[in-house]
Amino acid sequence: MNNPYLPIKTRIEKVIMETEDRNIKSFELSFINKEDEEKFQYLPGPFAEISIPGKGEAPFGIASSPTEKGVLKFSINRTGLFTEAIHSLEEGDIIGVRGPLGNNYPIEKFENKNVVIVSGGFAFTTLRSLTKYMIHEDNRSRFNNITVIYGARNPGLLLYKDELKEWGKRDDIDLNVTVDAKAPGWDGRVGFVPTVTKEVAPASEDSYVIVCGPPIMIKFTIPVLEELGFPPERIILSLEMRMKCGIGICGRCNIGEKYVCKDGPVFTLAQLNELPGEY
């Protein structure tokens, strides 16, 4: 019997400081045991519990794509005790991971459809995974137009800057990076995510939209999407809650009868509309 509470061992291969405020770092991990790697199968969307003995565990979205073999990537915002501890780790350190946990984005439904990815702040993590997966040469032809709208308060807070540059050069992805206010050296788009979404989102017929970001951004983006004609079944959200077990039994992450860790974190707006607004 697999023990769902025991972390597997991974090694930190690379630490990348993502943002100028030095609060977000990405960690690329490799599996120490081959069997663990084989068992760790996922599609974009799930999260994992990262484990540091003496500090505990905390949930983080998986930022790597399954197309990046052997690499597990997390981008972690420093907010408290646990995240502080991760930030102090270095390349070569051993760290535990429990996962993959939760569901993935409903990728089969995106096939032969336009896909719009809307994200703000550091919630871009699992959407990086999704984007990376969809634009991979093995997968790109399964989807129609791919539009990415990604915003941050200022240019210094954007994640994955090198990758964004690369994507910007491709003609099979419509990338729209925006910052909240004009900034020196920034010649890109300026404006809030909801406004940009209104401008660049394709017609809602035959399109799915995936939204991930701080609550305030979500709050203002949903009406825009509804106005654009997206039905709630085709608006997809990824939620965050206080979590511990990640497997639907410790009891704390439910919204109504659904457990965000096990039944989510990915829900359609239609599903959420059926649940109490307790999140």
Binding site: R242, N254, E257
Partner: protein, 343 residues
């Protein structure tokens, strides 16, 4: 189902016979309350469980889901190394458990033995346990098991169920584990004529003694549509938000996972937790979806009588009445349910 009888004065013998192969636990009086205590030697626990308070103060759940469970130990100087505990596989019999407690096992099974994430600790403890339940001839005033789908003689979850007939017990043999116990002893005989009728009379009388009359389906119907009802604004008002009702509840199974370190050594543990505490859902950002007593009381009632039913087709309450009896402010869940029922 097989039925046997055993004379009351044979019972101690039967239990003593188990001591060579099993750890035996039985209710024993400590100060004013009953606790499930391990029998160290023949006869050190008085098995006349028909007297005194009916049920133990703490429920049977800690035998399968202890308040603290160690997942592994670590040593900070040896990164990546985990030492897992060796769980005992010594067989044990828990004797004299009440139906509302054995019934709670199906709630725990639903949570801890799923195909996707079976809980090895729980399963191991379940496997090594045989339960001898005893029906309740005289329910307490706080009991309402009849309303939640059980009853003072409900056998679901037990291996043997004893019915007190006065000078003897009727023994219902419900599982193979139960059968093994009975086969290992010579004290059992076939029920004489009239015994089953006598049992039926006792069962009926005990059921009648429970007068709460809560209609659990009606309650569910209301809960389905009334998450936002003004009812929730006031029902929690006297609750002081302690965890008593959930910690003593035989069905509550929520927990926290954390690390405790002393010096270089430490362990990752699971401990009981409760939806009645504000920290339970507190986000790292400081936000909290259940920020006041209102949301937390609603979660407790909704979880037990709606969400759990939606997911597992049973209520997460066996009507044991512990939360009624031990709530420091007498917030009586039966009253809450009744108010809902007439809404």
């Amino acid at each position: 189902m097989k039925e046997k009888t055993i004379k009351k004065n044979e019972l101690a013998n039967f239990v003593a016979g188990l001591l060579s192969d099993y750890q035996v636990f039985a209710p024993a009086k400590e100060e004013e309350s009953l606790v499930l205590k391990e029998m160290q030697a023949e006869g050190d626990i008085d098995l006349d469980i028909g007297v005194g308070p009916v049920n133990t103060k703490k429920s049977i759940k800690e035998f399968f889901f202890p308040q603290k469970e160690r997942f592994f130990s670590y040593d900070l100087t040896k990164p990546g190394e985990m030492e897992e505990p060796v769980l005992s596989d010594k067989k044990r019999v828990i004797f004299g458990v009440r139906p509302c407690d054995v019934n709670s096992i199906s709630v725990f099974d639903a949570i801890f033995t799923s195909d996707q994430y079976p809980d090895p600790y729980y399963i191991k403890r379940r496997e090594r346990t045989t339960i001898v339940a005893i029906g309740c001839n005289k329910p307490e005033t706080t009991c309402f098991c009849v309303d939640t789908g059980g009853g003072p003689f409900s056998a679901d979850g037990s291996d043997l169920l004893l019915v007190d007939l006065g000078d003897e017990y009727l023994v219902q043999v419900l599982t193979e584990k139960g059968e093994t116990l009975v086969n290992g002893s010579s004290g059992f005989s076939e029920p004489k004529s009239g015994v089953l009728q006598k049992r039926d009379g006792i069962v009926e009388e005990a059921q009648k003694a429970i007068k709460s009359d809560i209609k659990i389906k009606k309650v569910k119907g209301w809960l389905d549509n009334n998450f936002d009802a003004p009812f929730w604004d006031t029902v929690h008002e006297k609750c002081i938000g302690c965890g008593t009702c959930t910690y003593l509840c035989p069905t509550c199974h929520c927990f926290d996972i954390l690390d405790e370190t002393k010096g270089e050594k430490g362990e990752r543990i699971r401990i009981w937790d409760s939806c009645m505490y504000p920290q339970f859902t507190l986000h790292a950002s400081g936000g909290n979806p259940r920020k006041s007593g209102k949301e937390r009381m609603r979660q407790r009632v909704m979880h037990k009588f709606k969400y759990f039913v939606d997911n597992n087709e049973m209520v997460a309450c066996t009507g044991c009445g512990r939360c009624v009896k031990y709530c420091p402010v007498n917030l009586d869940i039966r009253e809450v349910l009744k108010q809902i029922q007439v809404s």
